[in-house]
Structures are given as C-alpha cells and as structure tokens.
Amino acid sequence: MADDVRSLTAALARDPSSLRYADLAESLRRRGQRDEALRVALHGLARHPRHADGHDVLARIYSDLGDLDRAQLAWGKVLELAPEHPGALKGVAFVRFRQGDARAAVEALERALAIDPSDEAAQRALESMRRDAPMADLPTAELPTAELPTPVAPVPAPPVPAAASPEAGAGSAGAARPSGAKARPAVFSGFDRATADILLLDERGLVLAGGLLAPNGADVSEVAAAGLAGVSGEAARTAQHLALGGWRTIVAEAESANLVVAPVGSGALLLVRRDRSMPVGLALRFAERARGTASTWLEGQGA
C-alpha cells in the first residue's frame, strides 16, 4: 500500500493534471490518512470538477470522517454526472441507511444491482438488510458490507457564534439565503450576497463560512475552497522567495468577475467575488471590510 501511495504520488508529480489523484486519495483513505486523502481529492476535483470517480472518492472520505451530509452531496454529484455509477448508488444506500431511511437504502441498492447484477457487495448488503431487519423498522446501523465506507465518530460542525443565527436569514439585508447555498455560520450577514460571493476557508481548503454559488445556483464552495488553499500557499511562497514580507491581497481580474483573496488571522483565507461592473478599488474596500468581520468572528471562535 505504501508503494501504491509512492508510485501514485510520483505519477501525479510527473503529471499534475492526471486523474490518478482519485487513486491516490483512495489509497490514502484506505490507510486511514483521511485529512491527506481529503486534500488530494479536493485539489484533484478543483482541476477536474466533472470527474465522477473523484467525487465518489471524496464522498467516501467524508463518510469516513463522519460527515454524512457532505458525503451524500458528493454522491449526489456523482449521480448527476454518471447516473448509473454503482459506487455512488451503494454510497447513497449507506447514507440513507444510516439516516434511518431503510426504504430509500434498499431502493438505491436495487438500482445498483439492476445495473450490475453481479455486484456481490450490493447483493450481500441487500440480503443482510432484508434478513436482519424488517423494512418497516430497519435500525439505524452500519450497512453490512465491507465494500462500503466505514464511518468513524462524526466530526463536530464548526461552532456558530451565539449572536449568529443559522445562515437562513443571512443574505443581504436579511434576504433569504439563495436556494443553492448551504447553511453555514452567518458571519457575513449584512454584506451584499453574503452566502453567494463571499467565502471563508481554512488552510486545508475546508469551508468555514459564507458561500459561493455558480451561475446556475449550485453551491461550489467546496471546490473553490480546495483550489484557493493552493493559491494561499503559492502566494506565501512567492512573497517569501522575493523577500516581500507577508502577502496581503491577491486581486484577479477575470472575464466575468473580479476576485479578491486575502489571508485572515493565522491560516484562514477569504475570497470575495464581485461583478466586473464594480471597480477594483471598490472591490478591495469591500473585501477589506469582509476581512475585518471574518477576523473578529475567528477570534471569537478562539481561532
């Protein structure tokens, strides 16, 4: 297994755009190196956001970490991209079973078996579920198959400050959260497009607060956060090599939006996306205000 990781790491180093990142992430996951696996998977998906197998591995990692909500979202993404992906169907079955929705779990397994009747893992899981628990009251327990992810103790969700409500009311001037945005700490309440264009993440590329929506309304915060963690490291390296001191902001003017990236506190990172109609100077001021707010919130969390 260690050789696998070494050879896959070397292959990725030779060709960073390779899809082998998914194999590497899976190998790391199986070795129990979940954080590293998560980092590899998220970075790979930042390059290949439509790679179904990459999302499948990501879902397994989240499942191992006990984050079933994110696992479910990732497997949902796989099924968007590849509706007959057997791994995702089994994953959905696992999550549904853990959530106590045995009927949905069985349906997902039956779909997996309809696609691949020879899938022994799915057969065993389905038989076991039907044998051990009646459909009406299947217990919330681990889906009995070695092929499916093995969950560990859930990772606590980021704490919400006492003054903050769930993000549902955190949009501009109390406007409703956009439909695609996930519920997260309402750090940027009062900012324009607080859950659609402002994202706070940690040094590992994991989302802390805010949110980023794609034009179609899909929440792309996690993919964006994974990619941005790399930007932070690159900026620090550049500033260090050129003896520029600590970096303060990166502004990127792009075709359809301007982006401002700024470090917050020790290791966190803020992204603000503004329409190109907003002058860059104004976008910078907006980002500076958001950074102050994020910094205050992080201090309140003891971060």
Binding site: P49, P215, A224, A235, T238, I250, A252
Partner: protein
C-alpha cells in the same frame, strides 16, 4: 536596469542574459520598448516578459538585485493557481493579477496565448498606471 541584448552602459545595473533564445530582433525590440514604458512607472523595480507555460524569462528589464528567474517562475506559478481557482468559481479567464505584500507588489498581465507581462514594484507604485501600461503591452503582443 538591464535588458537582454540591450544592456545600457552606465546604468549601474547588473546584466541579466536572456534565459533562452529570444524572438526575432523586431519582436525583441517591441518587447523591450514595452518593458521600458513599464519601467518608467514610479516604484517599479523590474518588468519582464515570461513564458506562461514554463515560467522562463523571455525578456527583462530589472534593477540590480532583482532575481529575474525566480520572479518569472513564481509569477507564472501563481498565475496558474489563480487561473485554476478563477475557473472553479466561474470567474472565467484571468486577465490581470496583482499580489500586494508588505514589502512590494507583484503584477502580472496575461498576454495570450503564451506570454505574461510581469512587474515587481515597491510600495510606492502607482498600480493603476502600471496596470494600464502592462495591459497595453499585453494587448499589443496578443494582436
């Protein structure tokens, strides 16, 4: 300051040879003229044309002590990362990047398909003016 193939006597700057065989003389002159205009912006410590793919300098005009090869490589790498993230957040193709740090500013204009205009400046730089000159140079090369 120094430019490849066009070192200025008496400038007091170290000559930085071109990193690889450069473009033809007229194209090289055009690149050098663009760097010259950028270098006139207050606070500028150096400017360069860089190959976007491999981060190697194509032409440069640098104050003494500015590590041209490192600036080129780091700027290209930073732009690749920023471009990847911009794509991931639906911002589209990146045209200009500025990284402000405590001790200076790194500016990069993208000159498709394969060149970057890179400038390193101190804290006094007029970013707006530098950006204008760099975008103008990038547009001229891209034509």
């Amino acid at each position: 300051m120094s430019a490849p193939g066009a070192d200025r006597p008496g400038s007091g700057a170290a000559a930085a040879p071109p990193a690889r065989s450069g473009p033809g003389s007229s194209a090289a002159d055009e690149l050098a003229r663009a760097l010259d205009r950028i270098s006139r912006v207050r606070g500028m410590r150096g400017s360069m044309w860089v190959s976007a793919d491999d981060g190697l300098p194509v032409a440069q005009l640098l104050m003494e002590g500015v590590p041209g090869r490192a600036v080129a490589a780091l700027a290209a790498s930073l732009v690749r990362k920023v471009s990847g993230s911009a794509g991931a957040v639906g911002a589209g193709r990146v045209r200009f990047v500025q990284m402000e740090a405590a001790g200076g500013t790194l500016l990069v204009a993208l000159a498709p398909p394969d060149l970057l205009v890179v400038a390193l400046a101190d804290g006094r730089v007029n970013v707006g003016l530098a950006r204008l000159e760099m975008m103008r140079a990038a547009a001229a090369v891209a034509r």
